[in-house]
Assembly symmetry: C2
Homo-oligomer: 349 residues x 2
């Protein structure tokens, strides 16, 4: 057996590098002063560890929840410490067998330029020609698996289903609509927050109908787009969207509760759907989704989505914000819907 390699020196790594810390817990909408850019030592990897130079950082809606000091499915960020998150990058030094400088990896220590971590916490990923490494925090990563597992495992998507997805131009929503179409949905409707996004849903992603939720009541616009009702609702938004969907769902309809971005920055809880009692007579099923429950689906997911990406049947779009220093702006922009597709931060090359 080969001996455990000793840590290599990291000639390419600087002595110190940037990290984004949580400086204050936001009340309502986060502001730039809630984030602090800190220069910290870059630690040489010990045995079993790797040092990664991050190439892309992921910013995601769920991070807003982690800024609050509340018990949830994932511990809150700690004040004065780095905000973790998804990232992809390249190994620059390795003390771990099987990992060598130059290897591309995806891992969970985002919001920093360099990360030293146990190799077991990183996954080596192949570089695919024509596909940005950032796909591994997007269509081939957490958002893609969220869409896939939500539709299939939680939502029980069936051929012929009429599907509605909110936040449809986002990282998850845009993949939800496309998977639904590719899996034989008879109608795919999406909502988004600008005319440009709405146009993209039908023109680029193959949605049958789409509307701008700012143009009028969701209920009315959904009734127009799906006059016969819907069978499956994928909720990224909560609020009015969920209420409208409960009204539109047909008997034995299903709602996959994935996100509620409409209310992440509310300081008082918004009213819930006033029509939830309709779930009784219509035997609706509403079910929460966390991607972490569905790791067993990953091989099937990678194979199926990888195939659709290669064949060009699945489009994957990103909004790329350049520069590590702009990570908070990217995140704040995401919360306000400034992205189409996956929002990522690209670190200077």
């Amino acid at each position: 057996m080969a001996a455990e390699p000793t840590a290599q020196t990291a000639p390419e790594a600087p002595a110190t590098a940037g990290e984004w810390h949580l400086a204050a817990r936001p009340q309502g909408w986060p502001v730039p002063a809630d984030f602090a850019l800190v220069e910290a030592p870059v630690r040489t990897p010990g045995p079993g560890e790797i040092l990664v130079r991050n190439t892309y950082l992921s910013v995601d809606p769920y991070m807003r929840g982690r800024m609050n000091d509340v018990k949830s499915y994932i511990p809150p960020f700690r004040l004065g410490e780095v905000m973790d998150g998804g990232a992809v990058g390249h190994v620059v030094a390795s003390g771990a067998e099987g990992f060598a400088p130059g290897d591309a990896v995806v891992h969970g220590l985002g919001w920093r330029e360099y990360a030293t971590l146990p190799a077991g916490h990183a996954v080596k990923v192949p570089e695919i020609e024509g596909v940005s490494l950032s796909a591994y925090v997007g269509v081939l990563g957490m958002p893609g698996l969220t869409a896939y597992a939500g539709l299939l495992a939680v939502g029980g998507l069936k051929e012929g289903d009429r599907v509605f997805v909110s936040g449809a131009a986002g990282a998850v929503g845009s993949i939800v609509g496309q998977i639904a179409r590719l899996k034989g949905a008879s109608l795919v409707v999406g909502s988004a927050g600008s005319a440009e996004k709405v146009e993209r849903l039908t023109a680029e992603y193959g949605f049958d109908a789409a509307f701008n939720y700012k143009d009028g009541p969701v209920r009315d616009q959904l009734a127009k787009a799906a006059p016969e009702g819907i069978d499956l609702y994928f909720d990224n938004v909560g609020g009015d969207h969920l209420e409208a969907a409960i009204g539109a769902l047909d008997v034995h309809g299903r709602a996959v509760l994935c996100g509620a971005i409409a209310q992440y920055n509310d300081t008082t809880p918004p009213p819930g759907p006033r029509n939830l009692a309709l779930a009784i007579g219509k035997r609706l099923r509403l079910e929460g989704l966390l991607v972490s429950d569905h790791d067993a689906l990953r091989p099937r997911f990678v194979e199926e989505l990888g195939g659709w990406l290669k064949s060009g049947e699945l489009r994957f779009e990103e909004t790329v914000v350049d520069g590590f220093e702009n990570a908070p702006q990217a995140f704040l922009g995401l919360l306000r819907g400034g992205n189409t597709g996956k929002m990522v931060v690209r670190l200077d090359g």
Copy 2:
């Protein structure tokens, strides 16, 4: 083969008998003037029909919904016509093979003293010593199957589950709590609307804990009764109860949405649960229940509940209102929680 018997005359039946008609559609709480007692001809059964003298009429919360002129899973009652509903009685004349005078039957033409109907719409039931015929509109009928299917088929009750049921002293709730206990729940908590009912839940039905929802916020009382949380909530009430249960449900918890009696008489929709977004992180499943979806469970249900009734492990209680003329009062009393167990109207013998 025997020839189809011709209709027998019905010497025991009067020429006319009483029927309760829907006289007006209530706005909010129904009032006695919404019901009209009408004397109508008793029709002699034709070929394939039976004439039944009703013994017990069922009044049930779902009937409130049928008084409204809205599309639902069951058509609304029609103005100026009889209000249908569950009933048990004895055949007094038969034009149908296999049905003879004296047979006990359960059927759907309640709110009247005599019913003439196709024999195929009635089910012959055995008279069990010591068990009132009214059990067939209660523990061995629709409410019992609702409890059984809701816990097992929709709620996926597992041994060790901590179960909370609202409206726990009612026809469905009292059976839910007992089935949960008999099926190995590790904790059974119920809520009801009077100290007397609460006492009965623990003393008679074997609930581990119970509280009067009028004594304080449901959330606080539930937290005290189930400090470690719950796995399954059976909702007969909606409103505050559902919101409190969503808060108390543990990861992968389930809520069976069976009724929302708290809001049946509201003229404007009440706010929905403000904490529904918790369903995401906790991966809760909320699902509507209609007993009519679960007819396939009936044989297992009758066998299992029949056994528990005979062995005395399952208690079945009724609130009996005497006299056909008091049917509306029985129904109004039910809506205000005036019953413990199943509410039935007994017709004069």
